[in-house]
């Protein structure tokens, strides 16, 4: 495991060092975006799960070194969580609950899939490699590590952005993402 980043509603830890910030919860994600990324306005369209996974992966890749955004197929993005896309699901359900105020939208519906966050990371970094999303009901490092080691059975994969990205609503989330090399 090369580098890791942890983000909770009130803490940001990059390779074991706490990163200074002022905000908490959803505002923290926006603050991190403005201070450390800033050049990817698609961020504002994302649901909380994608924002969280995107920001965490950006902080992770920033410590890896120069970002050249060269297309590559040998890096996989394999993430896990407990609540799948619950925040986006709840939001989408609110748009169809009342027949008198029925306004389903593609922009809300597309995020009702947990693997969208892996696609967002692949798009940002031009990763043509494997992307996958797995749900387990409790965080279990052993299950996650075994699964990621298995993923190196792919003949091309040499590197994985892996770990846990979970959110139950806009203010409650937890990400622990790391970079793993074969």
């Amino acid at each position: 495991m090369k580098h890791n980043v942890i983000i909770t509603p009130d803490k940001v830890i990059v390779d074991g060092n706490e990163l200074k910030h002022n905000e908490k919860g959803s505002a923290l994600l926006t603050e991190l975006y403005r201070n450390h990324i800033g050049d990817y306005p698609k961020f504002f369209k994302m649901d909380t799960l994608s924002k969280l996974g995107f920001i965490t992966s950006e902080l992770l890749l920033n410590i890896e070194g120069d970002r050249d955004f060269e297309p590559r197929e040998d890096r996989a993005v394999i993430l896990f969580n407990r609540n799948a896309s619950l925040q986006a699901d709840t939001h989408y359900q609110s748009t169809i609950q009342d027949p008198k105020h029925f306004f389903p939208s593609p922009a809300a519906f597309v995020y009702t899939l947990p693997n969208i966050v892996t696609g967002e990371i692949a798009i940002r970094n031009k990763y043509f490699g494997e992307t996958s999303f797995i749900v387990i009901d409790d965080y279990d490092e052993q299950i996650i590590m075994k699964n990621l080691i298995n993923a190196f059975q792919d003949p091309v994969t040499t590197s994985i952005i892996g770990g846990w990205v979970d959110c139950s609503d806009e203010e409650h989330f937890e990400a622990k993402i790391f970079l793993m090399e074969k």
């Binding site: 989408y92 169809i96 609950q97 969208i116 990763y127 043509f128 075994k146 298995n150």
Partner: protein
Amino acid sequence: MIVCAAHNIISPLGNTSAENYAAVKSGKSALRKYDGLWRLPESFVASLLDRNAFTDERHTIDEQIVIASISKALEQTEIDVRSSKVLFIISTTKGNVFLLDKREKGFTQERVRLGVMAREVTKHFGNHNEPIVVSNACISGVCAQIEAMRYLESGEFDFVIVCGVDVQSAFIVSGFQSFKALSPDECKPFDANRCGLNLGDAAATIIYTKKDKANDNEWVACRGAIRNDANHISGPSRVGEGSFRALRIALSDLDPEKIAFINAHGTATLYNDEMESIAIERAGLADVPVNSLKGYYGHTMGAAGVLETIISMQAVDDHNILGTRGFDTLGVTHHLDVSNQNRSTEKRAFIKLLSGFGGCNAALLMAKGGLK
């Protein structure tokens, strides 16, 4: 070698794999038009199970068809399902999402979590391993099989039970309607007049195990790959990048002449089918027959990859390339060999291809008796 030990399909076309295959072979479909169902303002065409047939009040319909499908697959084997060497992998996109509807009663909200739903299933079978839920949009069913292959290769488990499931609801149908992705009539995969997909209910199970050698009649999951388009979260790559790359690995050094057919995703949306034609041609497979099963089942989402693999295995067993129901005139820009008629084949391998939201794509090579 990773070998298929048993399988089952529960769908509107039948409750066994054999019933399902026979129905498809004879051209049957469960696609019907529904008007006013689930208080949806727009009508839609879908392949739905009879909701009244599910009477177990302890389990949701999703859970009931998963349990029924796995039970029927297990009946064909001697597996001790409670063993710590047996792993359950569930493939689903939306699981019990209908429980988010405030009008739904009878189950706690936590049941909407996919891991809780999966635990209900393993609890039923008395298995104590933590179930894995693959939720990779429409490619989940192939991803779950690739996961199973890896777990068996690693030696951690002796048997992996893969079950794909999705049951349609107002949530899913309204979402696809908002995307303008649904066809007002029965879908027409790869056809010039295709205008969208239909959705469907199903559960499908494959039990995989590892063997040193497969006999001539055993189905071997040879290799599979998952690749991303790195292009768009809700539209496929215009150059079929992810599907092409996944196909390239599934095919590897195999002579395309050995492949009976590619069972494509073939949802009958304009963009999906066009993208697949590009990817298949780029992979050098333009002369291999292609079919889609969406005209029989609609798009069964989390079940699709498992269900369509099972139907395709039976088709090869029957020396048959199933016709693509709903297809008439080729309507993609790259050459594909598609037919609405069943055709005969003596070949013993096929590729299952899928793609989905999030830019994900997956391909799986299956061969009867393994690759010689």
